[in-house]
């Protein structure tokens, strides 16, 4: 494990293989919570937090419980339980410790359990055989990629209100087309070479 290796994981997760625009993970909250800039930012921050923690915890669960007992085939089940418990725990902790942040996140916190970016990053960590530090970095930077994507998208969507388009495209379709064009611009990063 080298420093450049970690940087390439980070850059890959944020720009080149962005979770939203090139891996299609976490589209539901991306579409659902991007109508306003401030809620989008809140959701993005919460996702960074949960993805980082989930990556670290699931790595430990996989390494020290599932592999030790030869239960690798229960990975999916174990991971979703860990994530659900983690989200619940974070919610309780925030409620007591940081009520202001808890208020700001509101309903979006429990919704993170069903965010496929979280389960996705954990499964990918296992698939790529990342070690503890690499898993943690991939989780956090994957969340940063999500934040970048959702903030960019929300700022475009706020302006979309003034645009003219066919009536049938109202709501979701025009949002999807916008996201498609954003994905097109993110494709530019695929030429990025890291050392």
């Amino acid at each position: 494990m080298t420093f450049t290796g970690l940087v390439s994981i980070a850059l890959g997760a944020i720009l080149i293989n962005n979770f939203i625009f090139s891996q299609f993970l976490g589209i539901c909250p991306f579409m659902g919570v991007s109508k306003k800039m401030d809620t989008a930012t809140g959701m993005g921050l919460a996702v960074i937090f949960v993805m980082g923690l989930a990556s670290a915890l699931c790595y430990l669960v996989n390494r020290f419980i599932l592999t030790k007992l030869g239960l690798e085939y229960l990975q999916t089940l174990a991971y979703i339980l860990v994530i659900a418990a983690l989200v619940q725990f974070v919610e309780m902790f925030l409620k007591k410790g940081m009520p202001a942040l808890y208020q700001a996140l509101g309903i979006y916190l429990p919704l993170i359990t069903t965010n496929c970016a979280v389960l996705g990053v954990v499964l990918l960590n296992t698939q790529y055989n990342y070690n503890f530090i690499e898993s943690l970095i991939y989780g956090i930077t994957g969340g940063v990629g999500f934040l970048v994507a959702i903030v960019l998208f929300a700022s475009i969507r706020e302006h979309l209100v003034f645009a003219e388009y066919p009536k049938s495209f109202e709501g979701f379709p025009i949002a999807l087309v916008t996201a498609g064009l954003l994905a097109l611009s993110f494709m530019g990063f695929s030429g990025l070479k890291i050392w």
């Binding site: 299609f24 589209i27 579409m31 990975q75 979703i80 979701f172 087309v177 097109l184």
Partner: protein, 227 residues
């Protein structure tokens, strides 16, 4: 129990992807060739039907406060079964769908139907709901695959149909190259990249909204005449 009504709801008026807007991640991610679309559609159909049966049968004894947790465990159990079966018998499909098979666990269609339908309805109705909603999802996947493959590669039935020996064969191991309808060099590769997924699904949902609005208007006009 109304079979015809449920069929129509699953495929058209309450289509999980085009109308309820659920499960979009996998819809856009894997629809690059027909083989993937069919495999994913059938996997979701099986998981959805089994979960609906299970949850509907248990609906009277599941405590209300922890129902979501129980749903997730039931779903994860069935997804693991399907995942292991695919790895054993159709490894090509498992490799090409990758992480999206285990991700069926967090596919909103399944937990959505469990909460909205199976938890309130009888066993028979829930089974049918699972089958028809699964079919609705599969049909959308197939349509997306056909459009994207045609525009992006100029072929049809990638992975499923094979022309390499000169005659048309159906293969089930994902090795088929599909039927080339026009030379690949004229195809817009962008349609099989992520961008194409967003654009195709956007246009399909727009088309669906247009058709549903048209039929609403027609019904409204008919209503006026009757009055």
């Amino acid at each position: 129990m109304n079979v015809k009504k449920q069929f129509k709801e699953g495929l058209i008026t309450q289509n999980p992807v085009l109308v309820q807007l659920l499960g979009m991640c996998s819809t856009m991610a894997i629809t690059t060739m027909l083989f993937n679309g069919l495999g994913m559609g059938l996997s979701v159909l099986i998981v959805l039907t089994c979960c609906n049966i299970c949850i509907s049968a248990l609906r009277k004894i599941i405590p209300n406060d922890i129902r979501i947790a129980i749903y997730v465990v039931v779903i994860a159990g069935f997804v693991t079964i399907v995942d292991l079966l695919l790895k054993a018998y159709v490894p090509a499909l498992s490799a090409s769908l990758g992480v999206f098979i285990p991700l069926i666990v967090v596919n909103c269609i399944i937990i959505g139907r469990a909460e909205a339908f199976a938890a309130k309805n009888t066993l028979g109705a829930s089974t049918l709901d699972g089958i028809f909603q699964g079919l609705g999802y599969t049909v959308v996947l197939l349509v997306m695959c056909i459009i994207r493959e045609f525009l992006g590669k100029g072929s049809f039935g990638g992975g499923l149909l094979d022309m390499s020996t000169g005659s048309l064969r159906v293969v089930f191991d994902g090795s088929g190259s599909g039927v080339q309808l026009f030379p690949a060099k004229f195809a817009a590769t962008i349609m099989i990249l992520p961008v194409g997924g967003f654009l195709t699904l956007g246009c399909l949902i727009a088309l669906m909204q247009y058709l549903l609005r048209k039929s609403e208007e027609k019904k409204a006009a008919k209503g006026e005449n009757v009055k």
